[in-house]
Symmetry: C2
C-alpha cells in the first residue's frame, strides 16, 4: 500500500552504535507499542508499524530521526494526532519532537486559522504595518480596574488587548463581569477615537465552561478570544475554533514546555493547523530564552505558505520594551503583532500616552 | 491577610549570585506576571504577588525554591491550578516543578479518586494481593481481533484490561464497535470462569466526544475507562471523573513530558487529586528511564494518606516481563497493579496460559 504517511522528525541523544536501534524502538513506540513478534497480521507490520525513513547525525551524540507514521492511526482529531506524534515518547528524556510533515488531508480537515493574519488586518484596519497588542494585568484587580486599563490602552490605539493568561474565573474578577466591563470600556474607547481595538478575554476550564464564556463574548459583542491549547487540550481548542466563527482566536503558550516539542512546530505550525489566528510566544532576549533562530522559525511556521491555510499572526511577547520596537520589526518584518504588557503598564497614569507611543512607533516604522 | 497559600517547589538551575533574583522573578511570573512597579494597589502586592518562602541549594548550581502562591488566583479548577503552578514557567528550560502543597479546600473541592484503590479491590475481588493488568495491542487490529485477545487475557484472570492508549476512534477500530466487541468478550470470559476482569476503553477527543464514548461504555455495562489527562486537558479529565460515577478511571501518562513536572507530583499526586482511580506510569528499568526513586515516590504519592482522598492504585507499565513480577512486588508492595502488555501479547496462541501464569505469579507472591 502507498497511503501517504505522517513524517515526524525527532531529535535523539544517543551514541552512534545504538542510534539505529533507538530509531526502530521509537518507530514502534509511536505506532504499535509492542514487540513485533506480538503482531500476527503481516498487513499491520506493513501498514501500521512506524517506519524509520532516515537517520542523520546532527552533531556527535545527537541525531535527527525521521519516522513515517501511518495516517490511519491518527484520524484528523488534534489530540489523537498529538498522541501519535509524541504521546509516549514525550516521557523519554532524551527525545524531542522537532518537526512533522502531514499528508494534505489533515490541512483540509483542520482548516487552520479562520480569520487569519489577513482577516485581523481587515478587522483592525492595520493594513500595511505591524500590529500592536497589550495585556491586562496584574491579577487581583477588579473588573472595573482592568476595564480602566483597557480603556487607556484602547485610547492609545493598541490593536489587540488580551487578558493576562492568569485571569480565569476568579472571585476577584469573575469572567462574565470582567468580559462585560472590559468589552464596554474598549467599545467606548473605540467610539471616542474612531478605533477598532479588539479585546481577547481568556477562556478556560472544561469545554462546557469555555462554551459558556464564549456565549458571554458573543453577547457582549467582543471580537476575539484567548485560549491556552496545551491546558484546555488541543481537541477542545479546535472545537472552540470551530464554534468561534468570526472571532479572532489567539493561542497562548502556557504549559507548552520548553525542550520537548520544538516551539516552531507546536506554537507555530500545530496551533495554526488547529486554527489559531494569532499565536503568542516568548520573544528572544526576554525571560524565556528562546533563540533568535527559534523565534524566526516559529514566525515562519505561523505565516509562511502551509497548504491553503490562512496565515496566523506571530505575536512575540514577554519583557518587550518600547525601545526594542524597531529592532523587532527589522527582525520579524511587518507581518507580526508585537505584544507589550508589563512595561506599558508600569507607566501607570501615563498609560494612554505610552500606548499611543507604542502604536505610533510601530506605525512609523511602516512608513519609512 | 493570612489566607493559606499554595506552596509550589521548583528546581532551578542557576548560579549562586543570581538565585535570589531568579526566585523572585519566578514568584512574579507565576502570579501577577508584570513588573512590581506596574502594580498600583498595595493589597495586590500583599495578597496576590507570589512570595518566595525559601531557597535551598540542592547541589552546586541547582536550587529548590519554594513559592507561596495566592489560592485566590487559582480557584479549584484543574486547568487553572496547573496554569498558576507552571503555565509560563514550563517554557523556561531550566525550571522544573518539583512539588506542591495545597490548602485543604482543594482536596475537598476536587475529591480525588471516586472508586480508589479499595474500590478496585472490591470490584475485582483481589483483596490481599497486588493487581494485574494488560493492554490491547497492536493498533491496526479489528475490534473482533482485539476482542479475541481480551477474551484470552480475561480467561487468564487479568484484573484489568485496557485499550492501548493509541486506540482512539480509527477506521480500523471505531470506538463504539471496539468497546462493544471487547466488552462482550470480557463479559463472556468472566461468565465462563467466574471472573471479574474489568475493561477500560480509551476515551479521547473533545469533552463532547468523550461523553459520547462514556455513553457507549454505560450502554455496554463496561466497568472502567482510560483517559490521558495531559492530552484531553486536566479540566476535561476531571469533568469526566465526575460524570463517570461508579467506573474505575485509569489515567494514562501520554504527553506528560519527562523533565519538567516531577512525575510523582503530576502522575501521582495531581492525577489522583483530579480523580484518577489508577495511574499508569513508566516503570523503572524499562524504556522510559524513570529512576527507582522516582517510581517509588510516585507510588507513594498515589496511595499514601492525602487528606481524606481515596488512594489511587499505582500502575507501573512499560516493558515489564513475567520474570520481574517478584522483584516488582518486593519493590512496590501489594498496593500496586502490574501492567504487562507487549510481552504477554508476544506469546500469541498461548496468551491465556501466559496471562494465567502472570496472574498466578502475582497471587502466589501474596501467599508466601
Amino acid at each position: 500500500m502507498t497511503e501517504p504517511r505522517i513524517v515526524a522528525t525527532y531529535h535523539i541523544a544517543s551514541d552512534a552504535e545504538r542510534i539505529e536501534q533507538r530509531a526502530l524502538a521509537l518507530a514502534i513506540e509511536q505506532s504499535v507499542e509492542c514487540p513485533l513478534e506480538a503482531i500476527g497480521d503481516p498487513a499491520i507490520v506493513a501498514n501500521i508499524v512506524g517506519r524509520v525513513e532516515d537517520v542523520a547525525e546532527l552533531q556527535p551524540g545527537r541525531y535527527a530521526v525521521r519516522i513515517g507514521l501511518a495516517a490511519a492511526t491518527a484520524p484528523a482529531e488534534p489530540g489523537q494526532l498529538l498522541n501519535m506524534l509524541f504521546g509516549n515518547s514525550s516521557i523519554q528524556p532524551d527525545i524531542a519532537l522537532a518537526d512533522v510533515e502531514l499528508p494534505a488531508h489533515y490541512l483540509t480537515a483542520f482548516g487552520g486559522p479562520r480569520v487569519g493574519l489577513a482577516g485581523i488586518r481587515t478587522l483592525t484596519g492595520a493594513q500595511s504595518r505591524a500590529l500592536t497588542a497589550s495585556a491586562l494585568k496584574p491579577q487581583g484587580l477588579s473588573p472595573a480596574a482592568l476595564a480602566s486599563i483597557a480603556h487607556q490602552l484602547a485610547l492609545g490605539g493598541v490593536d489587540l488587548i488580551k487578558d493576562d493568561h492568569g485571569l480565569a474565573d476568579q472571585a476577584f474578577s469573575p469572567f462574565a463581569e470582567r468580559a462585560a466591563a472590559v468589552g464596554k470600556a474598549v467599545r467606548e474607547a473605540n467610539a471616542a477615537r474612531g478605533g477598532r481595538t479588539l479585546y481577547a478575554p481568556n477562556i478556560s476550564g472544561t469545554l462546557d465552561d469555555m462554551r459558556r464564556q464564549l456565549g458571554v463574548i458573543r453577547d457582549e459583542g467582543i471580537g476575539a478570544v484567548l485560549v491556552a491549547p496545551m491546558i484546555v487540550g488541543v481537541s477542545n481548542f479546535h472545537a472552540i475554533v470551530k464554534e468561534a466563527a468570526g472571532l479572532v482566536v489567539v493561542a497562548h503558550p502556557a504549559m507548552a514546555g520548553a525542550a520537548k516539542i520544538a516551539a516552531p512546530l507546536l506554537l507555530g505550525r500545530l496551533f495554526r493547523l488547529f486554527g489559531a489566528d494569532a499565536t503568542v510566544f516568548p520573544n528572544y532576549g526576554g525571560r524565556f530564552a528562546y533563540s533568535t533562530a527559534s523565534c524566526l522559525a516559529l514566525a515562519q511556521a505561523a505565516r509562511d505558505p502551509f497548504g491553503k491555510l490562512n496565515a496566523c499572526i506571530p505575536t512575540p511577547a514577554g519583557g518587550i520594551m518600547l525601545q526594542r520596537v524597531n529592532e523587532l520589526l527589522r527582525f520579524y518584518g511587518q507581518d507580526v503583532m508585537l505584544l507589550i504588557g508589563g512595561s506599558l503598564l508600569a507607566s501607570r497614569e501615563r498609560l494612554t500616552e505610552q500606548a499611543s507611543r507604542f502604536v505610533n512607533k510601530v506605525a512609523d516604522y511602516g512608513q519609512r
